[in-house]
Symmetry: C2
Subunit: 443 residues, 2 copies
Amino acid sequence: MNNLELRTRIAEAKRTQRLLERTSRSQRNQMVHAIAEHLKSSAPAIVKANTEDLLQAQHMQLATPLVKRLRYDERKIEESCEQLVQVASLEDPIGEVLERKLLDNELILERVSVPLGVIAMVFEARPDALVQIIALALKSGNAIVLKGGREALNTNRELIRVIGEALDSFPTGSSWIVHLESREDVAQILELDDMINLVIPRGSNSFVRYIMDHTKIPVLGHADGLCSIYIDAECDVDKAVSIAVDAKCQYPAVCNAVETILIHQDSASRVLPGLKQSLDAYQVIIHGDSAVSNIIACVAATDADWDCEYLGYEVALKVVSSLDEAIDHIETHGSKHTDAIVTENRDTAMSFLRRVDSANVFWNCSTRFSDGFRYGLGAEVGVSTQKIHARGPVGLAGLMTYKWIMAGNGHLVASYVGMDSKPFIHRKLSVDHSSSMIEGGQP
Amino acid sequence: MNNLELRTRIAEAKRTQRLLERTSRSQRNQMVHAIAEHLKSSAPAIVKANTEDLLQAQHMQLATPLVKRLRYDERKIEESCEQLVQVASLEDPIGEVLERKLLDNELILERVSVPLGVIAMVFEARPDALVQIIALALKSGNAIVLKGGREALNTNRELIRVIGEALDSFPTGSSWIVHLESREDVAQILELDDMINLVIPRGSNSFVRYIMDHTKIPVLGHADGLCSIYIDAECDVDKAVSIAVDAKCQYPAVCNAVETILIHQDSASRVLPGLKQSLDAYQVIIHGDSAVSNIIACVAATDADWDCEYLGYEVALKVVSSLDEAIDHIETHGSKHTDAIVTENRDTAMSFLRRVDSANVFWNCSTRFSDGFRYGLGAEVGVSTQKIHARGPVGLAGLMTYKWIMAGNGHLVASYVGMDSKPFIHRKLSVDHSSSMIEGGQP
């Protein structure tokens, strides 16, 4: 698309988004269900398009894990449909009253959740991701500009066609979805900070960093996931070993897997032999400092190991002399994603939880728990290691902002200023079990 | 300061901030009170420094309103001290439990408010602003990098010295405050997106825009305040006129003053004569479209008037044929700051409140109410017209982020995955009247 076409399409998406935002909850849920039903009935056509992509992938000699993610067969379509039903069942994120205050008699202030507007998502070659992203945008009343991996282009095109058909009979249609097919289109949308409210990049660290460095649009994403576990002097050895192994080996290719394990010198000789035995079962390569190598056989760690996100069956081990040294190490080398302590001493644990400045800080459990589904957010749109807007696993709330609405009866500021000014009441009102005044008329 | 000095000072501020963050609420409040007491006892020295600035200002023939804001006499010092006492009395923003969930037996997740870290604030030539900003940073446990107007340099230097003295006897001291004195320093800190978490610029629109365009650090600020009032066909004429006059004339130099008034054609002949009479009392220049000029005497509006933030005794008036036209006008020309409707029809009001995509949307009250103090936020650090992080008037909450903390008892992700996996409980727990597990030991 040329720049004018792109701007026109996104302006139209934004216009439709304003209608989508005001569409009732039940209608938005009906639209999600309609997509699910249409996906099911169109499965043969989708599988056919996917087969073309798979043949192309074979031709290009794509790596097996990539091909596995690219495959979108009847079973995976079924799974997507189940996910859609789940998204429809989530609480409605629009119109939630976040605060309500009586400022004065007949002067009521509400802070109410509203969609961000237009969200752009650039993601990997997984057709199921496209379906889920569209469902989340629909549920949250946002327009969505999306670009999937080029390996999945045929599948994605077919999915966009099928979803468009499913939405045809609804008043808002599907023009709130903008599907991009080329990298050049992505480069162009990164310039559109006047039209797009948030970019969510998914993929490799270098890709996410590229996006962050090339746009003025706010970006929701994690740059790295260098997670650490600190095993304290007063640890339960079995707990320490099983947590470390789970965090490293349960799924090592992800951002919340552990990369560095710090062990207090007073527990090193108790912990390390068992830890090595368990890691050996997964053929994990251990990079240890000299204190570690005095106790177990390992590869000598270099300085680079403390900053390395292995994303595989490798781990860096270091012996530390204190909680302070562990925290200093995490501050210096960590990526503020997820860090955990294993200890039976509650005070030490609380100190760690308070002092470590990461998005997720855990006590006596695996770093792998930092995840939207495990947190019960219903769906995960990404994990943020930034401090602005959203931090850690982000659910639908990350696609929302809020506005302040106030209802008065001719109230003037002049009455509250200067001599004989009226005082404000500023009484907090309950926000439980009541919808916003602007949602009063909605089904 | 050269770049290395600046980085060193900010790194030290960040280091101290980590201590400040963990300082108890009562100690942080004591520090605020200590500043107030020391300001009072140092009033003669502060006034002396301020007199130098005022002489300089006279010499430079500074405009009267600027000189007025620059003046910092015994009475204004007294006011600053009262504000400090107020800040100390605000609810503690650190360690608030925002969410709490039981994920499984003995596996508890909390989302807890924590300081952003290092905040930079660049502000106008008002010495009282410097005092308030430092108090807000202290209350919220953030390090602060600040640069005030150069006209107030002598006063600010003296204030920084006095505040430093007041904090000397406390363990954290005052090195979490970094005072910048030159524009070159500001240009340098805008590059430090690896050290500074948020920039809050205060001043003219062009200044705020300059900051936004020259940094990768997230910026909290409003670019413009082009506020509108729509007077509906079914309005109460007295209410409409008094709200419009309050919004325009109560203090026209501010971002929440009204600049454009849209009047429904069916109420124009009833509203306009009285409105003109009331605006004439303040010598407001009226720029009206042809439909307006058919009813009252006015200056013919040009296209530029619909996009003009007068910030003075001038207003643009336009007759519209419908609510839709009013909303379209606001979407096209407004700045998404504050917009209001005057109507006796509740349905029309709700439609306006729902559909207008601004930070503050009001019914039957003055646009001038969009303000942190009037909203009962205790203090205002700025007004945001952005959608990310904070929107509208921003109180202490705008200086905070959150982290997720989890406490388990050896919990592994492997238990919740695959065949025979355990289900999560995901039960919301109450967050009322209880502090976070990490705050348990605090006074």
